[in-house]
């Protein structure tokens, strides 16, 4: 059993984008704030802080989740993927290129979260229907695009990923 006292900072180790990173967090520190303020990963944005807008979405242990509704200490030892991990060598991946091609962002505030949701979604659903994409996107708010370019980008990216990597296994 772990017991972490309030009002003091504790060591938290996460595996972020494939690298073990250690930082300090109070027991009440949100994962979003830990990523941004402690690990200096500012790609993950903070919007509503009650799980509605989707801007803070990251992948924890392979699943797209809200980082504003979990604590850093809850995630001790977890594998966390953030938008910074999508283009580790500075080159956009297929999904990011599709967003660029389709003008699927304007101000970009919501984009990091949507990219992380779509990354997990396309692993689970490599050949999605438009309705499935829209259902997944219902967990995100975007005030610039009207969503259509985002839907088009995700469908296009799915096609490109399937062409490169046709045999996709269902996750257990």
């Amino acid at each position: 059993m772990i017991r972490l006292k309030p009002g003091t900072r504790h060591t938290v180790t996460l595996n972020v984008n494939g690298k073990a990173i250690t930082g300090q967090a109070e027991s009440r520190t949100l994962l979003t704030d830990f990523l941004r303020h402690e690990l200096k990963l500012y790609g993950t944005h903070v919007g509503c802080e009650h799980g509605v807008c989707g801007a803070c979405t990251v992948m924890v242990d392979g699943r797209a989740v809200r980082s504003c509704m979990q604590l850093a200490v809850e995630c001790e030892g977890a594998n966390v993927s953030t938008v910074e991990g999508l283009a580790p060598l500075g080159e956009l991946n297929a999904l990011q290129r599709a967003f660029h091609r389709h003008h699927a962002l304007q101000c970009g505030f919501c984009t990091a979260g949507i990219l992380m949701s779509a990354t997990h979604f396309l692993e689970d659903t490599p050949a999605p229907s438009e309705d499935q994409v829209k259902d997944m996107l219902s967990g995100h708010l975007c005030r610039c695009t009207g969503y259509y370019p985002i839907v088009a980008a995700i469908l296009d990216a799915a096609k490109e990923i399937r062409a490169v990597n046709p045999i996709q296994k269902e996750k257990p």
Partner: protein
């Protein structure tokens, strides 16, 4: 919009979890997926002395489908939804789950957390109540089983004692030939339901109604199952669906809030109720 300072406790076993609950009593808050609690902590609507994170309690996310259908408290909604055997065994849960939040919240939200949280508009409590399921609770004092229809008292209020942990939900097996239906009206898909209706109908060989559970969520301060005994034995058709929905609408005392007035909720019980009942009758196989 940041939580108050609290002690974070992460037990590995049920024994440790109930020990912590006994220690902190009402000053402790249990954390499972945190998809409702996280927001309430951030808004400081909840200010616990201790937060007891049960996500890593061994075995609490297991479920069984053969024999008794039991879903562990920390079984994630997405994990339940993707298990075909479980979804076949509990049709009301299968129909309800796609309406619960979004892909991103179902990935972390749990079945037990949603039921324990007891939001009156939540889908999983409605499914459990309509199905006639029950909950298993454990404390240092022992374990007990509570029928879901007796579990909910009011908005966010249940019969769970401060030292008790909900360990599992128990679901009755799908009844052979029964028809199931679920639908809700929300401002947007994934939002809290303004009204949600769930139904399980069994018909006799002559097409008359043998048994019916008609559940309503979002209407009163807790999920409820309406009185339908007067309609048994009657021919299960659109007229009967309308009669049952209208009777339910007349009997309920709906909430009024910023999303909908009591009158609007009552009207939804009528129209959505008719549709859901007719759908359940249509799905039921005449035996």
């Amino acid at each position: 919009m940041k939580p108050v300072a609290f002690e974070y406790c992460r037990p590995d076993t049920i024994a440790e979890a109930v020990e912590l609950l006994a220690e902190f009593g009402p000053d402790a808050t249990l954390l499972a997926g945190g998809m409702s609690l996280g927001a309430m902590l951030n808004m400081r609507l909840v200010r616990p002395t201790a937060l007891i994170d049960i996500k890593r309690v061994g075995g609490l996310d297991r479920f069984t489908v053969n024999g008794e259908i039991r879903t562990g408290a920390t079984l994630r909604q997405a994990a339940a939804l993707s298990n075909e055997a479980l979804m076949r065994a509990v049709p009301l849960l299968a129909l309800a789950l796609p309406n619960v939040g979004h892909f991103q919240t179902r990935n972390r939200g749990t079945l037990g957390g949603s039921v324990s949280h007891a939001d009156p508009s939540s889908e999983i409590p409605l499914a459990l109540v309509t199905a006639g399921g029950s909950l298993e609770l454990q404390s240092k004092r022992g374990t007990r089983r509570v029928p879901a229809r007796e579990f909910f008292l009011d908005i966010l209020t249940t019969v769970r004692e401060p030292d008790e942990l909900v360990t599992a939900l128990v679901w009755p097996k799908a009844r052979a030939g029964a028809g199931y239906a679920f639908a809700e009206i929300a401002q947007r898909h994934g939002d809290f339901a303004i009204v949600a209706c769930a139904a399980e109908a069994v018909l006799k060989a002559d097409g008359s109604l043998a048994s019916l559970a008609f559940g309503l969520g979002g209407v009163e301060s807790r999920p409820l199952v309406t009185e339908t005994a007067a309609f048994l034995g009657k021919r299960a058709d659109a007229d009967l669906a309308a009669g049952i929905a209208d009777a339910a609408a007349a009997a309920v005392t709906p909430m009024s809030d910023f999303k909908a007035t009591a009158d609007y909720r009552r009207a939804l019980v009528e129209t959505l109720g008719r549709q859901v009942l007719a759908e359940a009758f249509g799905q039921a196989k005449v035996r």
